[in-house]
């Protein structure tokens, strides 16, 4: 990084620059000769030609500079939108970007992207067809022939010929629509209708849906921004005006216009007189509550003081809002001009979310007085540097567990006959059976003595698994709570309520970082779990490490006790989650999947992600895994209730 700084600190003189400087010096020398001896001037023809040439060059350069600048060659930094949480993605956004063509380079790149969307959609379509009664042998043919829907634009997406007439295509070209993209939207709409997804927000295939990215900038972290010193080129227009005025003035021999051109030299020259900005600052951050409850608003006050002995003429400050938090009031950015010893103070409000959220180093964009050099730096801060927020479970919520239990006494009613409350069966008397369980009525009628059995009540061993891989950090909207957040809240409540029912409960994460709490019981156990849930790094932010499915599964199987049953909390944002759940279920650990829905249907791409998730749920149900589809904005208890109705015992 420091190499870069020293490199950009120097002004390098290229060959072209030297030529220009030489020409300029020559012109000045000739001018001085003319001033000293006016007789020389009018008769010296070649010089006049050179002069006109230079004037034309000047006008040309002026126009070139202006046009290039306005076509987007601005050198200023476009900082990320720190106001928004950067740890969450919305499923299907990449498809929307592919369709909109924002990610592709060139026409060929765009075709490839649309091709990738087609592959993905085709997989969905084939799955949908197999679930809507098309036998596997016919599937290929149905897709090729287009018999699966009435919409010809939709079927054409998977066929080689284009369904549009020549006039249609001309109309699309005029409205700058890509025919393949129109087809893709129709296809997505038709597939969704075929699967019977109703209540969609996006329903008109000719409409491209709501904008899926924030169009005001890019969301990212301050640590993604490079430190650098760069020219902003903002005076190029002034340079252009100057060259143009002087050039035209010389051409038309208008002294006043030339004089006017000189004015622009002031700001341009200042860039060489003024030093590169190097602000010396002291930054302090204060929080009104460093340990808030979830959803509480925290006021962050920042004080920036100039401790150097130079004026800081133009400082643009972006505070390092923790990547996992949203700013809900005020602005974490502030522009200031500080005399030596002066300080500026401003405040903004963030909304707390579970976890430990560290502030990033703030970003400083310092400009010199004329604004032509921009130094991008990050700075150290003093004062509070993180917000810690622990969930407080309130309601008594539980996920029903299955009748696979340990030998310990508990409250799960099993299918094993013995002592208990609920009647189970009657069997012949065996010596040693307790007297009170002998069916005396039967003995009185003169029959053989028989023993009544009741369903035994045992404790279950439940391990709650939380899918916290990078793929699981998804939310139906940028502002909405993400799937992990919702899952963690539910995990905390389920954990405690199962403990209260005398079950042994454990906790594990499917994440790049290892997190495991072996099954246990008692109040101390709850305290341990609570601390893990609140602060374990596995659950906060999108981890940078990789998640290796095979390794994680091996580790998990070593740890899981024999009779354990599993509850997996996962948004099912990719197929890996499904295969993990199915495999664990097949290993003999009965699996229940609680899946917070993090998909939306307001754009074509998001609709595809929504369809994919639905199909994943179906695939889990096919494997006899219990599934609780936890919709957006509904309490888990309602989702559990709805799911339970379709379970067999």
């Amino acid at each position: 990084m420091s190499d870069r700084l020293s490199e950009t600190d120097e002004i390098d003189l290229s060959g072209a620059t030297l030529v220009l400087v030489g020409l300029g010096a020559l012109a000045v020398t000739i001018a001085i000769v003319f001033v000293l001896d006016p007789e020389l001037a009018p008769t010296f023809d070649p010089i006049v030609v050179v002069e006109y040439l230079m004037a034309i060059l000047g006008v040309g350069a002026a126009l070139g500079l202006g046009v290039n600048y306005l076509r987007g060659e601005q050198g200023e930094l476009d900082p990320p939108l720190v106001e928004y949480r950067s740890t969450v993605t919305v499923p299907g956004t990449s498809i929307d970007a592919d369709l909109a063509g924002t990610t592709a380079e060139g026409a060929l790149g765009r075709y490839k992207r649309i091709g990738a969307v087609r592959e993905r959609l085709r997989a969905v379509l084939e799955d949908v067809l197999s679930r809507t009664g098309v036998p596997e042998s016919d599937r290929e043919e149905v897709v090729e022939s287009g018999a699966w829907t009435d919409d010809s634009a939709a079927t054409g997406f998977f066929q080689s010929s284009s369904p549009f007439s020549a006039s249609d295509r001309i109309r699309m070209r005029a409205t700058r629509q890509h025919p393949l993209v129109v087809q893709a939207r129709h296809a997505i709409d038709a597939v969704a209708s075929r699967l019977g997804v109703d209540g969609r927000e996006w329903t008109d295939p000719d409409d491209s849906g709501a904008r899926s990215e924030i169009d005001e900038g890019w969301v990212g972290r301050l640590s993604d921004v490079q430190r650098q010193i760069s020219e902003t080129d903002r005076l190029r227009i002034v340079t252009g005006l100057t060259l143009f005025a002087v050039g035209t003035g010389v051409l038309l021999d208008a002294g006043l216009v030339v004089l006017a051109g000189v004015v622009g030299l002031g700001p341009i020259a200042l860039r060489y007189v003024g030093p590169t900005p190097a602000p010396q600052l002291e930054i302090e951050r204060e929080l009104d509550d460093a340990e808030p409850d979830p959803d509480e608003q925290v006021r962050v006050t920042v004080t920036v003081s100039n401790v150097g002995d130079r004026m800081v003429s133009d400082l643009r400050y972006l505070d390092g809002v923790p990547p996992g938090l949203n700013v809900v009031d005020g602005s974490p950015r502030h522009g200031m001009a500080l005399r030596p010893g002066a300080s500026a103070r401003f405040a903004y409000v963030v909304e707390a979310e579970r976890g430990e959220h560290a502030f990033e180093e703030p970003l400083l964009i310092a400009r010199d007085v004329i604004g032509s050099v921009e130094r991008v730096e990050r700075a150290e801060t003093s004062g509070e540097s993180s917000i810690r927020c622990e969930p407080k479970p309130t309601s008594d919520l539980s996920v029903p567990v299955r009748a696979q239990t340990s030998r310990d006494v508990g409250r799960v009613v099993t299918d094993v006959g013995g002592s208990g409350l609920e009647f189970h069966s009657v069997r012949e008397y065996r010596p040693g059976d307790p007297l009170k369980r002998i069916d005396w009525n039967r003995v009185a009628r003169g029959g053989e003595p028989a023993t009544m059995q009741f369903r035994e009540e045992h404790a279950a061993t439940v391990v709650l698994l939380l899918d916290a891989r990078g793929e699981a950090f998804v939310a139906p909207e940028r502002d909405a709570p993400n799937a992990i957040e919702r899952s963690l809240g539910a995990v905390a409540e389920v954990f405690r309520s199962r403990l209260d029912r005398d079950d042994r409960v454990g906790l594990g994460a499917l994440a790049a970082e290892d997190c495991w709490l072996p099954p246990g019981a008692g109040h101390g156990h709850w305290a341990l779990a609570r601390r893990l849930l609140a602060t374990d790094p596995a659950f906060t932010e999108g981890g940078d490490g990789n998640f290796y499915t095979l390794l994680a599964m091996r580790r998990l199987r070593k740890r899981l006790p024999k009779h354990a049953q599993l509850v997996l909390f996962s948004p099912l944002a990719d197929d890996a989650a499904v295969s993990i759940a199915r495999r664990l279920h097949a290993y003999g650990y009965p699996m229940t999947v609680v899946s917070p829905d993090a998909t939306a249907t307001d754009t074509p791409g998001r609709t595809v992600a929504h369809l994919e998730r639905r199909l994943r749920l179906s695939r889990l149900r096919d494997a006899d895994v219990r599934v609780i589809d936890w919709r957006r904005d509904e309490p888990l208890s309602i989702a559990v209730d709805r799911a339970q109705r379709r379970w067999s015992r």
Binding site: A16, T17, V21, G24, A25, V28, I30, A31, V35, P38, E51, G58, G66, L70, Q74, E76, P79, Y84, R85, E216, R234, L235, I237, V238, L241, F244, A245, V246, T248, G249, V250, D253, A254, G255, L256, V257, L259, A260, G261, V262, V263, L265, G266, P267, I268, A269, S313, D314, L318, N326, V327, V328, S331, R333, G335, A337, E351, I365, I370, G371
Partner: protein, 163 residues
């Protein structure tokens, strides 16, 4: 609760300063005998309001056309210089407001813009006065081409160093 909006909103100071600079330019051009510059003022303000550099550039170009016309009609030298100072300032202040709105969004601060405008006006005025002094000295009988070459050479040196 939904996160705050992050629209590019120019500060009021930026709009006012651009308007003032534009008015100075238009007034100078008017005194120099050109009306065209008046059209540039609202366009420049609109450019800042919509944080669009091209629109601002169109506004500044209109102001500049006023300067050129005034200069070619041999208006009063002071008027032409004032008009040019206003034109340069209109771009500088306006662009600064747009850049602030882009990097700071709603956190854009008027104070920093006023400081910037003050510094730039001081420098521009100084150079204008210096240029005018040279102009007065030089118009004492030297060939016009000598003056033009002098200025042009200087401009070329400064610019080629300054890109």
């Amino acid at each position: 609760m939904v996160a705050v909006t992050v629209e590019r909103v120019p500060s009021r100071a930026g709009l006012v300063l651009t308007g003032l600079a534009g008015l100075v330019a238009a007034a100078g051009a008017l005194l120099g005998g050109s009306v065209a510059a008046l059209a540039g003022v609202p366009v420049a303000i609109l450019g800042v309001y919509r944080t669009s550099r091209p629109v601002l550039a169109v506004g500044v170009a209109l102001l500049f056309v006023g300067v050129m016309l005034a200069g070619l009609q041999d208006g009063a030298p002071v008027a032409v210089l004032v008009a040019m100072v206003g034109t340069v300032l209109a771009w500088d202040v306006g662009e600064n407001a747009i850049s602030m709105a882009g990097q700071l969004r709603t956190g854009a601060s008027g104070r920093a813009e006023v400081v910037h405008a003050g510094a730039v006006s001081a420098v521009t005025l100084t150079v204008a006065i210096a240029g005018y002094s040279v102009f007065l000295l030089a118009s004492g009988g030297q060939p016009g081409i000598a003056l033009s070459l002098l200025v042009f050479g200087t401009v070329l040196v400064v610019l080629s160093l300054g890109r």
